[in-house]
Structures are given as C-alpha cells and as structure tokens.
Symmetry: C2
Subunit: 144 residues, 2 copies
C-alpha cells in the first residue's frame, strides 16, 4: 500500500511509542507537582500518592529516578522542580489542556475528556496537535 506499512516503518512507529512510554510517568509527575505549586500548595509525597493512586513507596522510587534525571529537587521541604522539570511540566500542561478542549469540542463529556486526555496526551505529535488547534479555532469561529 501507499501507507508506508512495510516492516521497517512499522518498527519505527513502535519504537517511537516505546520512547513515549518511557517519558509518560516523568511528565505526569512534573505536571502534578507543577499544578500543586501553582495552586499555592507544598508538593509532598503524600499528594502524589493520592493523585496517582499508588503507594508512597512507588512515589518515592519514581521521585528518586526523576531527581537523578535532573527534573526535580528533593533537598528542601516540599518538592521543587528544576528549570528542566518546569519546562517539561509547562509543555505537558499545554498539550493536556489542548487535548481536553479538543475532545470537549467534538462532543466528548467533561469527565471522559479528562480521562482520555490522561492517556492520549503522551502520544500526540506536534502535527496532530496543530491540527486539533486549527479545528478548535475554526469550530469556535463557527459558534460565534
């Protein structure tokens, strides 16, 4: 076919998805920490444990990895993001919000839009994001 469905192309696509997976948790963590700080709270292990629905042990282990990766700083009282962590969080937030808005715009319920966005946001290319943004703006224009 003309769809680029040879094995090599498929392999590249699957490798990309695996790369995306290995970044998902980090993005979710920095985003959660970012949101907590934005809300004027001190970001703690306990908060993350509740947000992600895992034990505090899983949170601590993840935070250790992410600290090593230079995304955050656990030396002080609450969790702090590094510049890189904040950058990643901001990018994730933009992506996340755009996906939610887009899903809402095509008629998905608030609840489901938020739920789906959680999984989808990590697998959307810049090109697709741009397409969603275009459609979102076009749709808004129609509504006015």
């Amino acid at each position: 076919m003309a769809t680029g469905n040879d094995n090599q192309t498929a392999a590249r696509r699957h490798q990309r998805v695996r790369r995306q997976h290995s970044n998902e948790l980090a993005q979710d963590y920095v985003e959660a920490i970012y949101d907590l700080i934005e809300a004027g709270q001190v970001a703690r292990v306990t908060d993350l444990q509740e947000i992600f629905g895992v034990t505090h042990v899983s949170v601590v282990r993840a935070l250790q990895r992410f600290e090593k990766r230079g995304l955050l700083d656990r030396s002080g009282d609450g969790l702090q993001l590094t510049d890189e962590g904040r950058k990643m969080a901001a990018a994730s937030a933009v992506r996340h919000n755009l996906v939610v808005d887009f899903l809402r715009a095509i008629g998905v319920s608030e609840t489901q839009a938020h739920a789906d966005a959680e999984g989808l946001e990590h697998h959307i290319s810049d090109e697709t994001l741009a397409a969603m943004k275009r459609l979102l703006e076009a749709k808004l224009k129609i509504k006015n």
Copy 2:
C-alpha cells in the same frame, strides 16, 4: 473546579491508563498476527521481530505470555490466534482504522496519522471513539 479534579478522580484516571498500558502490547501483537494471516502469510517470530523492531528474544517471551493468556497458539507451524485473540485483534483493528481515518480527516498527514494512531488507539474510550465516528460521518457528508 467542576472538572472532577480531586485526587480520587485523578487516581482513577491514572489507574485506568496503567490498565490500558498492560494491554497495549498484547493488542499490538494479535493485531500484527491477524494482519499477517489476513494477507495470506504464515505469521512467524521473525515477522514480528521486524514489525516491532525488537530482538527475536523479546518476541518469543511476549508470545509465551500471550499464549498463557489464551490469546494465541504456538503449537503448529505458524502462529495462530485463538477465538479470544482474534476477537481482540478485530476490535483493535476497528479502533486503529477509525483513529487513522479521523486524524486524516482533521488534516493530519498519512504518515503522521499512522504513527500517532499506534500510540493513541489504546487510550481512546468508546465515547470518544463514537464522537470521532460522528464527526467523520458529518465531514464526509459535507464533502459530498
């Protein structure tokens, strides 16, 4: 906010994403095997190794797990799907194709649509899928 952003809700969303992840590989495998068989080929370890871009060892280990889960049968010459495996493959294929068509419809390139669909298809709820289908049909109507 009214978006259901309390911790418990967030936890449920993240737990759902983790469940989706634990099924992704199985879905990708049965879909690949299904496609090979549909194309009149004998599905072999080698094919999957090329399609997924991993070593044959990773394929063999994955196949062992999926055989235990009752999704496929490795007793014969080529790989065969069980009824359950075939059912999963068919469902995945429908989802996958709809996502590709939808992305194409909103202006994403063929190449990128196929690439993104690979990651997205596992995280889309029935509700969102239905919304995409509606928009797809509406768009087609406009085009005619």
